[in-house]
Symmetry: C2
């Protein structure tokens, strides 16, 4: 039986997603809580987007496999559906910087990573003193000068679509850097906070934070709006592109195809990611 | 010259507003930063609402007096208006859990405490697992069971208006507990968080948190909607009324009359608060 769990976490006190010996990670804490509730030595989970140290999530998705009997035994005396009971018990064990928002049985062939059709991140910046809210400082970057969101939006269209994003990615041997950028848009929240929505089929390492750094140079007026497209075309990392701090970034949503199509999508993605 | 400063702070790591020896307080940190920038041994400030340990603010207001020459000398080489320059320098010294949002010269007769016409607080509760957002956990109370906001709103009208709120206040010798409650209303934010807006001419100690505790008993179905009015009428503290945790409470706004009326309002308030 495959389960899907939807997670939120505050990345501040984690060394990123992936389990690492001796370090506090989101995967490590979640797997530990699941193993305790299910009374198993370990419960491996697979996530949709492996977030870096300091990056937050409101819409992370994971899958895990569990025998139906084991789940029933671990949550037995409750009258609730077993998955609801599992979520409640896991949340009781988890520290307050991780919450399981929801849990359910996944459709056949579902894979949290490979079935996903897109991931949506939001990067948040307070660029004026009145918007620098201490209550939100853990997930909003404070920038000391005003940013021109219209200029940054001018740069966006040339980056959309399928491109080799090598200029914005940390190189990894044998991995493609071809991605499809579906949305890139700056807007001000009702409270005046600048929010960039960045949506793509998938992201390579550091891609969102490098794109943000590139656009910030435009927003500050240090570069013209056509510069990001030039960086993209050059195809290699440019030392003038800053990788912005992790704490402004939140994984907000991961999308999946309808139930019947998740297995097909997973097969297709596995092929695409290993090409080129 | 009297200045008005508007402040935000995350109350988590403060022992409340008021200066106390050996403890970290908002007033203490702010006065220390002001004294450093103005090069004075001390700079007393007066606030609109002395928040308790753990209570936050987005709209706290303070006043302070400074000689014009002293302000000019401390901020001299900047081409900005001296108050803007003061705010920028103070923010550079303040820890990230306090921000000065804005500063300006106050109208004649302005008193942050006594000129205020009303204070607006918001109490925030996540009463369902999907709304328990780790990124907001510092200023939103997590409640383990769903609350009936319609029932809590039914209780509100009977509490509005001028009453002796002794039943909801920590007794202080010689101080009146008569207050005018102007607004008390529960609504759900777009994210599903339950928010109570509580607005009054002023509040006595623990008043918002006791009112919330009383309404929560209604929201949970342990009491009927007419119970809060009965508690009010009884006029003394009821051990069944819980004082809810401080961290869900934020002082959002303080209102003042138009420029010409601040002095008159201050005089009037001083009389009212000492009656009874």
């Amino acid at each position: 039986m495959r389960l899907r769990l939807d997670l939120s976490y505050d990345g501040t006190s984690f060394s990123g997603w992936a389990t690492q010996p001796e370090l506090r990670t989101v995967q490590g804490e979640l797997q530990h809580a699941l193993a305790t509730v299910l009374r198993l030595p370990q419960v491996p989970v697979t996530c949709a987007g492996r977030t870096d140290t300091g990056v937050h999530a409101r819409g992370q998705v994971v899958h895990l496999d569990v025998e139906e009997q084991r789940l029933a035994a671990a949550t037995g005396r409750s009258t609730d559906p077993p998955v609801d009971s599992l979520v409640r018990r896991v949340n009781r064990l988890l520290p307050p910087d991780i919450r399981v928002r929801a849990g359910r049985e996944a459709p056949s062939g579902f894979d949290a990573r490979f079935s996903a059709t897109w991931r949506r991140y939001v990067y948040r910046i307070a660029d004026a003193p009145p918007t620098a809210d201490p209550l939100l400082r853990g997930h909003v970057l404070w920038w000391p000068r005003p940013l021109d969101d219209a200029a940054m939006n001018e740069s966006a269209p040339a980056l959309l679509g399928e491109h080799d994003f090598a200029a914005f990615c940390r190189h990894r041997e044998g991995a493609t850097t071809i991605r499809e950028l579906l949305e890139l848009r700056w807007q001000r929240s009702p409270l005046g906070i600048l929010e960039a929505t960045v949506r793509a089929d998938a992201f390579c390492h550091h891609m969102v934070r490098s794109l943000m750094g590139c656009l910030l140079a435009v927003g500050e007026g240090r570069r013209t709006p056509d510069w990001p497209a030039q960086v993209l075309t050059a195809g290699e990392r440019d030392s003038a592109v800053l990788v912005v701090p992790a704490h402004g970034l939140t994984l907000e949503e991961v999308a999946y195809p309808s139930e019947g199509d998740v297995a097909a999508r997973a097969g297709q993605t596995r092929v695409v990611r290993t090409r080129g």
